[in-house]
Symmetry: C2
Subunit: 220 residues, 2 copies
């Protein structure tokens, strides 16, 4: 099987600009979260629930990455939060230059927390450092408990793992214990948060963890 490493020069260029994004965010004391998941795992829904929980505590903005359309940015704006939509054309992940264009349009001096919603993809998104403080991933119950075996990279790269749509456990054949054991074997340090944006289950633990991360940067 042929593995062609087409990504190397692009990654080098990407990483340099990501580092510059990092420095800009640090200077402005803004915590940036890169949220990764499959299409339809509930990224936007989780972001909306997270905004609802944190909007009185922090000034928040969202950068939306999609192949096409602006449906997600419209949902975020409807919640009264500034949102920048990036359309990647055919590219299956965000890159640091796209994030830089978005940062240049945001009032960084007034912000505490930027949520980057990456393109729905369990593969490409993990390989591109954007300058974020943390990558976090969501795996939804309907996707199945075998995903850590099939997409180990994203589980290893994530600082925390959310299991979304946890309210649908009774409908699907999802072995939560087996899933958590495999995730722990790939990434022993990452906390796992089972959540349901629908019922609110588990949101408190996720929000507590996130608040601690944001505060570390805000009060650095």
């Amino acid at each position: 099987m042929t593995h062609i490493d087409i990504n190397k020069p692009i990654l080098d260029k990407n990483d340099k600009l990501a580092q510059s994004n990092r420095e800009l965010l640090q200077e402005k004391k803004v915590f940036a979260l890169d949220l990764m998941a499959s299409p339809g795992a509930g990224k936007t829904t989780t972001i909306l629930a997270t905004i609802e929980a944190l909007k009185d505590r922090y000034k928040i903005a969202v950068i939306e990455g999609d192949i096409a359309s602006n449906v997600d940015a419209l949902k975020i704006k409807a919640a009264g939060i500034p949102a920048i939509q990036i359309n990647t054309g055919g590219i299956c992940h965000l890159e640091s230059d796209m994030i830089r264009s978005a940062l240049d349009q945001l009032p960084l001096d007034e912000l505490d927390f930027i949520i980057i919603e990456n393109v729905g993809n369990l593969v490409c998104t993990t390989e591109f450092y954007l300058g974020e403080d943390a990558k976090v991933m969501i795996l939804s119950v309907p996707e199945g408990d075998d995903k850590p075996h099939k997409y180990p990279g994203i589980f290893q790269t994530s600082k925390a793992v959310l299991i979304s749509k946890i309210d649908t456990l009774p409908v699907f054949d999802f072995d939560r214990e087996d899933f958590e054991t495999t995730v722990k074997s790939l990434n022993p340090k990452a906390p796992i948060f089972p959540v349901s944006a629908k019922t609110g289950e588990g949101m408190e633990e996720w929000i507590d963890w996130l608040t601690a991360q944001i505060d570390k940067v805000k009060f650095a």
Copy 2:
């Protein structure tokens, strides 16, 4: 926003070998289906149900594409069907050279139908022609009805669209009419098959369509 077309030379090379795969399959009168979907949309489950429906009528083999692991190939082999597992390393799609390696290991003279399960991805998979007769995609109800807006390419490339896990419609907020209207606007010719491998709903229509496609090649 920068769009770097890193794919062009690789696509040219890919397409040449894909054409050669195409000729080989045609010569052997084997129908090859490239099945694409998000992670966890139910590709393997749909394949198993399809095998169950067609195994007495056709000689079938499966080529499994995954970043890592062989869990899917093991499931197919447990159903008594030859399966070749391709691990792409980090690559988010199958390419024609990987398919050729798999074809070289299969008894093509004895086969009627090869199902290629592509890597779980709504983006990269659509761009690579493998030599297949048809690309078909699955969108599962839990992923949401907005996916055609966000990933138009895969809906345009697919010869048929399956809506899987249709039995979970009552649990999710999925507007089937809106979804089908958008798919029809992107791809007026593709039939849409709502299916549930769990309850068997809709499988007959999908199997009938597929049988017609396979027979066109087998009796060409």
